[in-house]
Structure formats: structure tokens, C-alpha cells
Symmetry: D2
Subunit: 472 residues, 4 copies
Amino acid sequence: MRVEEHIQQYLDQEDEKMAYLAKAIWDHPEIALQETFAANLLADEMAQAGFTVERGVGQLPTAFVASWGSGKPIIGILGEYDALPGLSQQITTEIAAIQQGGPGHGCGHNLFGVASLGAALALKEVMIAQNLPGTIRFYGCPAEETLVGKTFMAQAGVFDDLDAALAWHPGDTNGVWYGSSLAMNSFKVNFYGVAAHGAAAPHLGRSALDGCMLMDVGVNYLREHIIQEARIHSVITSGGQAPNVVPAFAQIWYFVRAPNRAQVEEIYARVLDIAKGAALMSGTTYDIDFVTGCYEVLPNRVISDLMYEKMQSLSPLTFTAQEIAFASQLQKSFPAGSLEYSYALLEKSTSGGYSKADLANPLWRQVLPHAPTPLVMPGSTEVGDVSQITPTAQLTTCCWPFGTPAHSWQITACSGSAIGFKGMLFAAKALALTALDLMTKPEVLRAAQAEFATSTAGRKYLSPLPAGTVPH
Amino acid sequence: MRVEEHIQQYLDQEDEKMAYLAKAIWDHPEIALQETFAANLLADEMAQAGFTVERGVGQLPTAFVASWGSGKPIIGILGEYDALPGLSQQITTEIAAIQQGGPGHGCGHNLFGVASLGAALALKEVMIAQNLPGTIRFYGCPAEETLVGKTFMAQAGVFDDLDAALAWHPGDTNGVWYGSSLAMNSFKVNFYGVAAHGAAAPHLGRSALDGCMLMDVGVNYLREHIIQEARIHSVITSGGQAPNVVPAFAQIWYFVRAPNRAQVEEIYARVLDIAKGAALMSGTTYDIDFVTGCYEVLPNRVISDLMYEKMQSLSPLTFTAQEIAFASQLQKSFPAGSLEYSYALLEKSTSGGYSKADLANPLWRQVLPHAPTPLVMPGSTEVGDVSQITPTAQLTTCCWPFGTPAHSWQITACSGSAIGFKGMLFAAKALALTALDLMTKPEVLRAAQAEFATSTAGRKYLSPLPAGTVPH
Amino acid sequence: MRVEEHIQQYLDQEDEKMAYLAKAIWDHPEIALQETFAANLLADEMAQAGFTVERGVGQLPTAFVASWGSGKPIIGILGEYDALPGLSQQITTEIAAIQQGGPGHGCGHNLFGVASLGAALALKEVMIAQNLPGTIRFYGCPAEETLVGKTFMAQAGVFDDLDAALAWHPGDTNGVWYGSSLAMNSFKVNFYGVAAHGAAAPHLGRSALDGCMLMDVGVNYLREHIIQEARIHSVITSGGQAPNVVPAFAQIWYFVRAPNRAQVEEIYARVLDIAKGAALMSGTTYDIDFVTGCYEVLPNRVISDLMYEKMQSLSPLTFTAQEIAFASQLQKSFPAGSLEYSYALLEKSTSGGYSKADLANPLWRQVLPHAPTPLVMPGSTEVGDVSQITPTAQLTTCCWPFGTPAHSWQITACSGSAIGFKGMLFAAKALALTALDLMTKPEVLRAAQAEFATSTAGRKYLSPLPAGTVPH
Amino acid sequence: MRVEEHIQQYLDQEDEKMAYLAKAIWDHPEIALQETFAANLLADEMAQAGFTVERGVGQLPTAFVASWGSGKPIIGILGEYDALPGLSQQITTEIAAIQQGGPGHGCGHNLFGVASLGAALALKEVMIAQNLPGTIRFYGCPAEETLVGKTFMAQAGVFDDLDAALAWHPGDTNGVWYGSSLAMNSFKVNFYGVAAHGAAAPHLGRSALDGCMLMDVGVNYLREHIIQEARIHSVITSGGQAPNVVPAFAQIWYFVRAPNRAQVEEIYARVLDIAKGAALMSGTTYDIDFVTGCYEVLPNRVISDLMYEKMQSLSPLTFTAQEIAFASQLQKSFPAGSLEYSYALLEKSTSGGYSKADLANPLWRQVLPHAPTPLVMPGSTEVGDVSQITPTAQLTTCCWPFGTPAHSWQITACSGSAIGFKGMLFAAKALALTALDLMTKPEVLRAAQAEFATSTAGRKYLSPLPAGTVPH
């Protein structure tokens, strides 16, 4: 039996256990930084399988690193498991929360963590069988939804000795995600004023809300004078109690994003100047509550192409008539234009090989070739930070119907169902096969690292986190 | 026995019952529009005393009107009984909540309602004894703290047939409050936009928060072009969820105030234009959630002077050494400058007859003459609306130490103690004596009404509430 | 002949010469800081009369001080002579410029300077005749319209040794102006940015206009949090060249005013913080072009009452039928409401003695008693600075029809006519008589100085001008 | 002699006359809408050559259309001749105005008009010689610098019957400009308020400047919610007179630009809503002074490729050692980075065939192939409007040293020298040869028109000008 077959066979055997784990996490949805159940479940599983587990890395109680083997190369596989607030949902085609207002796996991270774990276990299996040198690492990464987890883990240096990293994300098609993303800073600005009666003594008051308002006006004036690809957006998270009191406290929460980290840093510095200006204008003081930050994803062509080759080599996904009917029914609940939107995105991120006729089947089976030019996704992920430390590639598999809106109850429904579990298994296999090649074909790894060296031009990773930042 | 003595004697007899009622309400603090216990307690008491009670007036379940007697003149006495959120406090000189974060009678309205009730009962007593014609009314007025109660009651016409109205408020001195206040509108502006991903598609979003922001900028530009005595203040009560989503909803809450109602209406119309402008600017829509509004207080010199005369005719308040010690101790917890601030206010609102040396005693016994020129209090009250419908006067009595800050735990503490109950009794007597004269001396009532006719210049009361406004 | 008669007789003799001088200045209208002709004409006249003349005081080429006599007391009389841009006008009742767009004496300062000069000459005459000790000073004060002259003269210390100062202003009634005014700072904020093509490279530009805009937004937010009597107003004097270039320069010009100097200083400091904040927000730099500043007028009751007494002692003004017809005709050109506005002001600033029936005659003859409480004029004058250095009083005489709008062509017309010259002569007499008493009645002067000492409470005059400010 | 040779020979003969005309216009620089001398000079020249000349087209006294021949096809050649304010300059390598502050040909339009005229004359010459059917048109297009000319001409329909149009622009290399530009609207917003004394009665004032300010704040908030490629920029052209008067008038001038006309219209409508909102907010009224607007350039690949072929077929430009020395000297006066900037632009707009070594010669001789994908120039031109009516192509020739900044005195210097005249002759030849093929090769014209039909998708040209707009 070829080693590739061994991997697939092993994972097919583990299918039930993986589905069990994914369902257990789905049944205990926990939002960012609170994933105690999921982190313990997965870490214990790894420990039981003989992996050395370090828990609580990067100041994060629910982050862990599980290692097996020794020496070079060291290949990392990333797993996530946090849920989203407000997306509790039963496994049905109509919106119906299990717990009204409760959290739910509306981004499919219950699948994410388990597929990666499966890949790591499969790899261990063949490394033993083949007596392969090297180290396999599974990274338990919490709080992806708030972009906190991997940034703090990276700051702690846990990815520093990797030779390459692999990740994936549940999705509505199959393929390699060979793209970039926006680097970002997330921070809250607290303004502190002086309370006073709004009618009797407004001249004695200094309004913290004025601080927020003026800062926001300043930021809107800044828009003209930054690169057009940058994004700044905000909400007011605390805007005073009652009109008759000049607000002594107010808070505004910002995201600053741009195609690369240096641009984010430059714009962030200017936004801080605006905060300072707003405090001067309103006679208030302020401080910055830095939440998190991340780098843009640095795609790696070598590993991405390898990944695609591996995905193609697998037996395609198959779905039952019932699953397809479920998926079709679900599609009917999507907002108008959802399929068109997804299709347009597909056209930009792949190099074809399909047509609109393929949309007849709501569940995608085909593996799509990625476009040669990386698309910049107008969002952010701290996989970006890992990708700036070591050559990194990501894939996606079909875990829900085509066109499913991001962060939706429909995703929660599918992530707890067989549809999601099938996509998860497919991902585990592709990850394991890719990792195997990186383990066993030095020339491939060298090529990936050479590309990485060129892309980063020797730039060392510096954490986006100001000294002393605590995850929250 | 003179009728005046009869009134005082009666109230001295009822002292215990009044203290019981005030304590019962103090023990069940209920915030605005939720005063079921207090309203029922007082309404039942009145019903039991033979008054005809109409409950739920002015769309307000906790408002009631209790009437006794028949024919003219009709004299109204106003009572309030709502508590304040967050001011739960034991009867001690140190801050110590009974229920952490719970409501408390931090404005002394438990005393307010009961003194007015006592005055009405006393009046009934002497009207029977003297076989006096006329009608006495007790108005159970809820939700004063949110300025909702009397405005909705006035809209329903319950004050329309009054010949005069009397009110009082617990305070830190004794005297008539011959002053005015600011007319006001309280309203929330809801902006409705279109949600969109802040990084991926901000051009498709229309930010409701932008609506609030631009409105607020517009309002700040308005400040230069309104009369300097006007006041506009606001808080942002809903400012978006998370920065990555263009907010589809946001809300800003405004108070507009000015020395008189016409000015408020004029400025309010301009603020509405600004809301409209902000919606046009941000591509959003908006609507107005009108909370409440009120008139400025129209003071009545005739009744105010009568009230002062009556207060002077009473035996002065007396406090025990223990009460004085409690009050002194409490004063130590006041913010710096509290006594100075109160003294300065006193100098503006009275015509003297005291000196700083009098501050040696924390509890005021003397009745102070009001200043001849009404002082405009830089705050608002819907007693204003009553005062625009019928000649109205208000007094205050010492229920807590001099310099006690408004809306404070110290007031809660005193309002549940013998200090507050003594001030309450004093107020009940003064109200009853004043009402008696208005009942029995037609020339005084005529003079008060003539003054009222001159002051209003034939202007009819129009409710500040837009059609369809529901109390909330 | 009594000394008072001597003064009046002397000035009646000099009437023709005074009219000649006033007409010469009227014929050569010069705006602020350019009053070479007027300054030389008056200074030469004083020099010829034996006064010692110091020219170019206070960094101002057109300011001068003319002194006669020696020793104490030293009494100063202030004169002004600058014209206004755009108010060129013939001596007719219809608008008709002599020089289209040219300057004109639309504030009557051609009369102002000459009456004061006349008073100084008359005083010299009687001091010689009576062999009186003391010094008489005539101050040639330029650039009143831009509030520059007396501030810079005061900074140079030229008023420091005065025992009292007198001034007047042409007007539409006769009386003492016993009032105050607003202290003020006038300054321009220059913002410096970086030019860039607005379409091609806006991200490389830093907009100086953004600096102005953001500063102005900041100032409008400040309005809520300053005393309501303060005033801040501005114009944009340079706002960029063409839209396709990010403006590298922009300028905004502010006035900050408040009832007293300390308040102006406090608010000014906050406005400077706003400028700094706006520069931070827009990535620009800025500097302050301080134009001028002044104090509020400190009225002196003692001298004001003396002045009134003197004015009353004079033969009243008389006007010919022709003059009255001219004035009536001119009144027809006034904007609607002008007479009502002036009458309302009169009621506030005087203590009566007249009725609306008196308006039948457009030219006021009667001398009106000033109100006992000083009215704060909502404008500014650097007579304020003199009044903070030495006891100062001001009067006004009828030089144009009642209700004439400030700074108008109608004033130009009257200021060149016999109407204006008559008012000027009346003013000269009143000033001289008042000065004489201050010279000869030490108890009056002492009383004025005692009042001044009380009012200023020992506060020393500090120039509002930052070090290094140059008049411009 | 081949017809192509005939054209070249003819133009070589006319070289001197063309240089004379270009120098005459250079010597009489006239800014937009004032080009009487240039328009007459060129129109007269055409009339003399037998062209039918219609003057004053499109409401523009200095616009004209000169036609020769009859029937189809009709080929138009565009010429411009307006100068720029402030760019007066001698033909030297150091900045030295002929008339300080006067206008100058700092964009080389003196060459532009004459080369196009030469091409039209050459075409007439060979049409006669070859007895060719068809019509040749020369368009005298004024006011390009303000984007007024061709828009108003297009509105008048003067390009409607064209089969194709050709244009060029002097530059620093040789090649076809196969690119697009930004569509645009230029408009001023006038706000009208109510004047009032800033200190005495600001509540009676309505500030027109507030209108501008609030509009600008609104526009800056809009930036987040429009496509990132759009541009809005503004200057304040009238911002009030003096701070003490609430401004009754103020004006802000905007450019709105975007990659296509529909986007401009959509954003413009939103900006008008903001103007309306600002008027509502400030209690002012407003109107729009629409200056001009234009479309994006629609490039035509067929004619562009033809043009390149023709340019390549010509003998290359030659420059004397003296001219090269002049050019090298001039380059030394360029701002740092000018050559790098131009080179970067070159790399984006061409498909190579050169290297940085070529920069050794400041004057470009080689004809560069245009890039296959049209580059969007981040600026605007009303050639865009012509290109939306008929297939249009544009070329550039070397008339000044590589890297010369746009709108500079260095361009003025070169445009009056032999360097410019040589580039002009080269352009005339290329234009004539291209026009000849369009005249004589129906298949080429058909292909160009087919491409145009596809690009416009049947969309008819609608003038960007609102009804009633007058050029100004």
C-alpha cells in the first residue's frame, strides 16, 4: 500500500471519531477566548495519541501546541474551534435557534479544528509506519473570529521554528485559497471627560462623547488622504448615559486595514494623531485599548500548487440525494443575489473549469484550480501572521451549499450535519497528503522556502501587538 | 379651635400614618412608569377616605386623580412617587446599597406623594367640619424623573378645570420656590441605513451611525445661531455593533431646552431639519421617537406670597441632637464645594435673612423669603405644564442636610428617616393651609387668576406632545 | 467770566477751524493704519498750539501723543480719525459714492478726532488763563475700526501716568455711555499642508483646508462648553485655489469675545488647543497670526455722572429746518426696524426722560440720563484697554438722525455736514468741561480713582498682545 | 510618389508656416474662453485654404469647425490653443517670465492646434490629388484647461456625424495614448444665509459659511461609502468677509470624478443631497453653479493600433546637439523624482522596448508601443466626450525633455522653441497618415466603428451639462 493510500485509509477509519469530535464541539459552542471545552477535547485527544501538548501558550488559556516526532522538518497544521455569538441554530432548513441568542458554529470552526487534528494524526501514523524523521505539530488556535488567537501565539514565538504551515477553512467549493487579505489593527479609543449638568453647567463639562465625535470627523477627513485600498471603520460602543449629563466617558472602536502591514502601521499612527487631536479639541484625555492586529496573508505558490495537486488526486466528494435536497432547500433561504455574488468571487479567485450550469448541484464536488494572481480578500485573518513567519498555504472544501452567506445560521446548520463532516474529512486528507510531501520531498520544501525568502525579502516578523497587550 | 389649628392638629395626629406610607413606598422603590405599588397604596388610601378615584389617567396606568367635594373652587394638590435607578441605599451615613444597583428614593418622592395626600385629607377634614363648598383634588403623578407624568396627564385634560394647583418638593431649606425652569423636548432620533461589510463593500453600505454623527455636527453648528439661554444636549444610545459592519441602525437622544416653550418649538423645528439634513447626507432614513416635553414653570406671585405667609405661621421644624448628628455626618460625604454651591443658589433665590453662620446647623429650620424676581432654574419639570393651565405655586421643606447633592444616595438615606418625615409633615401643613385660603378667600383666588391671565396673555395650553405619542 | 464760559466761548470761536479740520479729514478718508494725512494734520495743529508731540508711538506711524503743561494731574483725551473701506459717500440723502468702492467716514471718526483736539486746546486756553497746574494730553489714536490702535499704544505704556481719560463717539443721541463691552482677541490661523494632485495622488497631499475645516468643527463643539455670554466667530480668508490641487495653504480668521479679559484668555487657550488638534488631525502645521486684542470697558461711575452734569449744563444743540429736513429724508433710507431697534437700545442704556413722541424730531437735542447699571454692549472697543489703566468715561452726541445704522453711508453723509459739526462742537465743550473739573477738583478725581481701585481690585493691566506682535 | 510620401512632403514644406503659427499663438498666450487671437488666426488660415468655417459653435465665441470635401466618411481632427495663467516664460533654461504673472503655453496647446491644422491641410492636399471622396474636419477647441470647450461643442452636436476623430497632445515621448481617464463634474455650490452681527445677534444670523462647512463634512463622510476609485475634491472660493459678520454668502467648488460617467452621475446626485442637507442644517438656501463635466475617454484599439503603425512608418525625430543640451539643462531644473515618476508611468502605459539607459538622451526619438490594457489616467479631459460619440484615438510626440512636469514653465519654454516645433511636425504627419487610412480603407473604419459599437453597447451620448448651462 502506498503511503498516500495509507493516509486516506486511516482517515476513512477515523471518520466516525472525527465526526463525533466535531459534533461535540458543535454541541458546546463557545465564543472567542472561552473555548475551554473544545480546547480540552482536542488537546486531550492529541495527548492520548502520544503528542506532547503545551497548553495556554501566547497568554491564551485555550491555545495549545501538540507536537509529535523530532528534528527537521517541522510541519505545522493549524486548527480553530471558536463559535460566533447569536448564531445558535438547529440542523434544519429553517431558522430555529437551539438557544435563543446563544452562540453557534456559524463559521464551521468545529470542523476546522477536527480536520486539522485528523491530518496530524494521520501523518503520525504514516511517519511511524515509514519511519520518517521530522516533527508534526498541531496548533490549537482559539479566538479567530476576533483575530486574537494566532497573533498572540505568533508573538510568543510558537511558529518560529516551523518549516511550513498548512491550514484550511470550510467553504462552499473545493480548492486552494491562493490569495492575500488585509492587514489590520483593531483598537478602542476611550475618552475621559468631566461630567456636568447639561443645562445648568455645560461650560464646566468636558464631553468624552465630543472626543469620539471629533475623532470620527477627523478620521473621515483622513479618508481622502490615504491609499484608496485602505479601510477604516468604526462603531461607538459607549456614547453617554442620558442627555442631561455631559458624558464623562465614551468609547469608539476602530478597525484600520490596508493591503500590507506597513500601510496599516502608517495609517494607524495618523489615526492616533487624530485621537490626540480630538482630545485636545474637546478638553478630554484618552487612552488606547489595543485589541489585536494582524498581517496580510503572504500566499505561497509552491505549496499552493502542491495542495491543488493533492486535492485533485483524492476521490471526489459525494453527497446523498437527501443531503443535496437539504442543501437546495437551504439555498432558498439565502438573501437575493447570494449565488451571483459567490459566483463572481469564484471567477476572480480561480482559473475556470466550470460554468453556471454547475450551480444546478448546490454542493460542489469538483476541485477548482486557483487563479495565478493572488486575489486580495477584503477581510482579515491572523493566518496572515503565520504566513509571514513560515511558508503557509490554505485550502477550502465544500461543507455547505454554494452561495451560503458568511457567518450565518445556515452555516451552523450544515456544520453540524453530514455535509460538513464530509467536507471535513476531505480537507483532512488533502492536508495530510500535502504535509507528507513537505515532510518527504526536501526539494519541494526548499522551493517553498526560497519563494518565501524572496517574498519577505529578509524582513523579520514583528508582532503587531504593542508591548504589554493582553488578549481580551 | 381655629380652622388653621384644626388642620395642624389633624396632620399631627396623622403623622404616624403618613410616615408609615412614606416608608412603605421607600421600601418598594419603583422607577418611572412602574410605580404600581406606590400608586395603588396612595389611591387606595384616598378611596378609603371617601375620595372618588380615577386611575390610569393620561394613558398612564400609575397615574390617578382623587377628588372630594363638589363645585367651585377646585384646588389641586400634586403628588409624586417614582424612584431613581441605581440609588438603592440603607439609612446610614455611609454609602451602602440595600440592593446593589437597584432603585432608590434618591429624590425623596416617597415623601412628596404622602405630604400632598396628607394635605388633601386634612382639607377634606376641615371642609366637612366647616361645611365648606368646593372640590379638593389629589393628583397621583408618576414618572416625574423622566418628565413624562404630568405632561401626559395635562394632555388628557385632568388639570383643565382647576382653580389653582399646589405642589412642593423635599429639599434642604424651607421656603417657597418662586422661580421658573426651562421648557424642554426629549426625543430620540433613529437612523436606518444599509448594512454592508466594512472592508469588502463599504460603498454599498449606508451608515446609520453616520446619520447620528452628521446630525450631531449639524447641531453643534446650530449652537452659534440660537439664543444663548437655550440648551441642546445628547448621547448616542446605539452606535453600531462591530466595526466590520456598516451600522444599519443607530440612535441619538436629544434634549432641547429654552426659557420658554415657543423657543423650544422653534429650535426643535430646526433640529428636525438637521435630522433631515443628516439623513440626506448619509443616504439613510430616520424617524423621531418623541419621549416627552414640557413647559417652563410660570410662577404665581399671589399664591407664592400666600404660601410663604402660611409657612411662617407654622411652628418651625425641630430636629433631635441625633438627627443633627446624622445630618452632620452625612455632610462629610458630600463632594467638595457642595455647601458653597447651595449657598450661592440660596442667595439668588431668596431675599436674605440668613448668614453663613446659619450653616452651623446642617438642618434648616428657618423659613426663607423668596426673591422678588423669579430665578430660572437651569433644569426642567412638568410642573411647568400644570402651571401653564392653572395658577400654581410650589414650596420646599428641609428633608435633608444643607448642600445635599441632587439625586444622591444621601437623599435616599434621609428620605427613609425621621428627618425626611418631619419635612414631609411640615410641607403637608403648609400645603393644606394655603389650599384652605384659596378655598375660602375668593379675593385671593381671583388675584391669583388675574395674575395668571396677565402672565399667559390669553394663550391656551397646547400639549407639547405630538399626536399619537405614547408614554414610554 | 467764569472759566466754564471761557471754555465754551473759546470753542465757539474755534468752531470754524474745527469744522475745517473735520471736513479736511472727511475729504481724505484713510483706513486703519494708513491715516497719514489725518494724523499729520492733527499732530501739526497741536504742535503749532505749543503742545509737545511724540509721533509714531506704539509701533504705529500714525499714532501720536500731544502734551501741554506739567505735573499732576494728567488728564488724557482720546481722538480717532480712521475711515472705513467701501463707505465713500457724498453729502446727499441718496446713496452716491464719491469714489466707487472707496473709503469713507462711515463711523464719524473725522469728528471724533477734532472734537477731542478742540477740548484739549480749550483746556490749555483756560489753564493758561487760570494759571492751573497739571498736564493735558491729546492722544491721536489710529486704527480703531480694526481694534489695533489703543491696544498697541497701551502696550507701549503711553496711558500709564494718566489720572483719568475721556473719550466720546458721534451718535444719534446725547448722553454718557456708561456701559461695558466685550473683551476680545482677533487672530488668524494659517495652516500649511502639502500640495498634491487631487485625483492622482490625494494620499500624498495634506490639506491645509482640512486643517481649517476641522478646526472650525472643533470650535463649534466647544460652544456647548463655554459660558453662554462668550462669542466665537470666524471666516475663511483663504480656502485653496482650484479643486484639483490639495491646498497647501489655508487661513481662517477668528474673533473670540467674552464679558471679561480672563474669560477671553481662557477660551482663547482652548481655541489654540483646537488649532493644534486640527493640525494633528490633518497632518498639517499651523501658526497664529495674532492681529489684536482688547479688554472690556470698565465704566467709571464718578466721571460718568460728572460728564452728564456737564452735558446738561450746556446750551442744547439746535438744528436748522433744513438740517432737520435732511435728517428726516435720510431716515427714509434706513432699513425697516432701525428706529425701533435704536429705541429699544435707548431704553436699556438710559433711565428714561423721553417718549416715542420725541422721535418726531430726527435730530436729538435732549441730554439723556444714563442707566445706573452698566449695559454690556455686544461689541468690542480698545477704549476698554485705556479704561483698565486709568479711570475713563465716554459720552456721545447727536451727529446724525436717530436710528442711523452703524457703519453706513448715511453716517458718512452726516459726518461731512453741519449736523455732524454741531454734534462735534457740543462734544468738545462737554469733554473740556469734564476735564476741567478733573483738573481742578481733586476730590472728584480721588473719588474716580477710588472707584477704579475698587473695580480693578489691584489688578495691573497686562497687554493682550503676545510678545512680538506687530500692528497690521 | 505614394500618397503617404505626398503627405509627408507637403508637411515638410509647410514646416515654416506651421512654426510661424505656433510661435504667433505662443507670443499671444490667451487663457480659456479668451482665445480670440488664436481662434481667429487658425480659423482664418483654414478659410483661406478653402475650408468652410463655422465660428462660435457650442455657445463658445472661440470655438469653430472648419470643413472641406463632402460626403462620407467624415474624419475629425481636434485642435486646442488655450494657454495657462501664471506660466509666462522666456525660451530659456531658467525660470524667467516674459510678463510677470501672465499666461503662458505651459501645456503646449500652441503646438496642439497647429499640428492638427497641418494634418487637415495635408489631407485636403492629397484628397484633391487623389480625387478622394469624403470630408475632413478641423475642430478648433477652446478652453481645454477648464474642461469646458469640447463638452459644450459636443452638446451642440458638432461631432455627431463624424466617422472617427483624431487628437494628440505634446509630450515627452512618442506613441499612442491608448488609455482612459476619469469622468468628471465641476460645480460650485453657492450658499445664501442671513447676515447678522456676530457678537450682538448671532441667533438672528444664518451662516452661509456654515452651509459650506457642513456640506464638506458631509462629503467627507460620503467618502467611505463610494467606490474607492472615485475622487471628490474641493476648495472654498468665498468664505465670508470679516469675523464680526455672520456670512450671508459663501461658495465651495467641487470636482467629482470616477472611472465612468454613470458613477459620476450617481455620486454627484448624492453630493447634491449633501448640499441640500447642509442647507437644511444651516437654515440657508443654495444653488448650483454647474461649471462643466466630461466623460471618461473611451479608447479605440483599432485606430490606436493603426496610429502606432503610422508613427513607426515615419522617419524618426532628430534633434540637434544644441537642442539636446538645452533639454539636458532644463532637466536639471525639474523637481527631484520627476524622471523616475515619468519612467514609472511609461512602464504602465507601454509594452516595453526601452530601458533606463535610453534616458541618457533627454529628448525621446523612439516610438513606443502602447500597453494592451488601457491605463486609467487619474485626471480628466473632454476628449472623453468626443470619444463617446465617435471612435477616437490620440497620440503624443516628444515636444520637451523626458520627465518635464505638467503645467510648467519648462513646457512654456519648449513649446516656443524648435524642439516643440519638431514634435508638432511629427504629430501632424502621424495624424494625417492615420486619417488617410480611415478615409480610404473602409474595412479599417468599419472595424473601428464595430469596436466602438461594442464598447458603448448602443448607449447614446447624453451631455453631462444640465439644461441651460452657459460656458464660463
